[in-house]
């Protein structure tokens, strides 16, 4: 069994490196001649220079039905035709495709390409999960992401309810900038006591984001 990686640059290289280190036989097909030459020098893989969406190129590789084909180009239409050719014409059982535009995943699925790797969807999911675990109203990066302003509403059960600001286990790199209490906005002092319903603007460094949010919400 071998893994055929069709198209793609960096992702193909790192994927190939991983697979080879696990003892798999890897074949790379790429349109870019310079990339092919570089890969031939650095990887113990069979490198074919050519367009993988061209059936005659795919046929040159001698793909068997128990092989695995992964389409990794940055154009979904190229990935679709690579998968279709591999699955329908070469009868490959295991066909995978990188999805660039997440909306195209449904299209691939309806066309029978069910092994999809939807990069932007995966990232969106991870980010959403990270954010959704806290009752954040707004999170805005400033200074090229080196500073964060987080808007958060104090809910029942938060450990900061009824506590003084100066008693909170905040990191050095975090502070509560303003409090909005029933429409009345003020700047908190060390002896400000937080109430349920307070809306806070918290300023922090990205490294302190998790600790700060945990201190306010008590959530993991």
């Amino acid at each position: 069994m071998k893994v055929v990686l069709a198209g793609g640059k960096k992702i193909t290289y790192y994927l190939a490196k991983n697979l080879i280190s696990k003892g798999m036989a890897v074949t790379i097909i790429n349109k870019d001649k310079a990339f092919c030459e570089e890969m031939a020098k650095t990887l113990k893989a069979l490198i074919i220079h050519g367009d993988a969406s061209n059936l005659s190129v795919l046929k040159k590789v001698e793909i068997f039905d128990n092989d695995l084909v992964v389409a990794l180009t940055n154009r979904d239409q190229d990935n679709l035709i690579i998968c279709e050719l591999a699955a329908r014409v070469l009868k490959v059982n295991q066909v995978f495709s990188l999805i660039n535009d997440s909306e195209n995943e449904q299209i691939f699925r309806e066309l029978g390409i069910t092994n999809t790797i939807n990069m932007s969807e995966i990232f969106t999911g991870v980010i959403e999960q990270r954010l959704a675990s806290y009752p954040i109203i707004n999170l805005m990066p400033f200074e090229e992401g080196k500073a964060l302003v987080i808007q958060i509403e104090v809910e029942e059960g938060f450990p900061i309810v009824g506590k003084w600001l100066k008693d909170l286990p905040f990191a050095e790199g975090a502070l509560v900038g303003t409090v909005n209490r029933k429409g009345n906005v003020f700047i908190p002092h060390g002896d400000t006591v937080f109430e349920v319903g307070d809306r806070l603007l918290v300023i922090c460094l990205p490294v302190d984001q998790t600790q700060t949010l945990q201190a306010i919400t008590g959530w993991d």
């Binding site: 061209n54 005659s56 979904d76 279709e84 195209n104 299209i107 066309l111």
Partner: protein, 144 residues
């Protein structure tokens, strides 16, 4: 004389071929939308063209939705890239159930794939070959 049914036609690619076909269809009182990634390609459209143009990438499903592809009677994929044509034709046929999907196919080797999905095809190489064949036969006939 009964009036022929007016179609809602969507054409992808406003090159020489797409633009002329769009002109013909709009001349025959069909509703036509031409989509092209490159706005300057709309300059290929003939003066009498009265349909709509949408600048955008037809492989983006939002662009096709903006063109109301679900209402189309006729969908023609006429870009110079077989993979793009295959992709958008598939989307029109399988996702939006457009009754008539026609695609330009440059490489005859790709034809079986298009036909497997019941996409009608126009293959310039084969058309040119058949025209050339007819001419050669005519010459041979005359030389007899």
């Amino acid at each position: 004389m009964s009036k022929r049914k007016s179609w809602y036609a969507i054409l992808i690619g406003s090159g020489r071929f797409g633009a002329r076909l769009a002109g013909k269809l709009s001349n025959e009182d069909h509703s036509v939308v031409v989509i092209d990634k490159n706005e300057s390609k709309f300059e290929n459209l003939p003066l009498e063209y009265t349909g709509f143009t949408i600048q955008g990438d037809a492989t983006d499903i939002e662009v096709l939705k903006a063109a109301k592809v679900q209402k189309a009677d006729l969908f023609l994929a006429l870009t110079d890239d077989d993979n793009t044509n295959f992709f958008v034709s598939q989307v029109a046929k399988v996702i939006f159930h457009v009754p008539h999907v026609i695609s330009r196919v440059y490489d005859p080797a790709n034809l079986p794939l298009f036909h497997e999905y019941k996409i009608e095809t126009i293959t310039p190489v084969l058309l040119a070959l058949s025209t050339a064949n007819r001419m050669l036969e005519k010459i041979a006939e005359e030389e007899k």
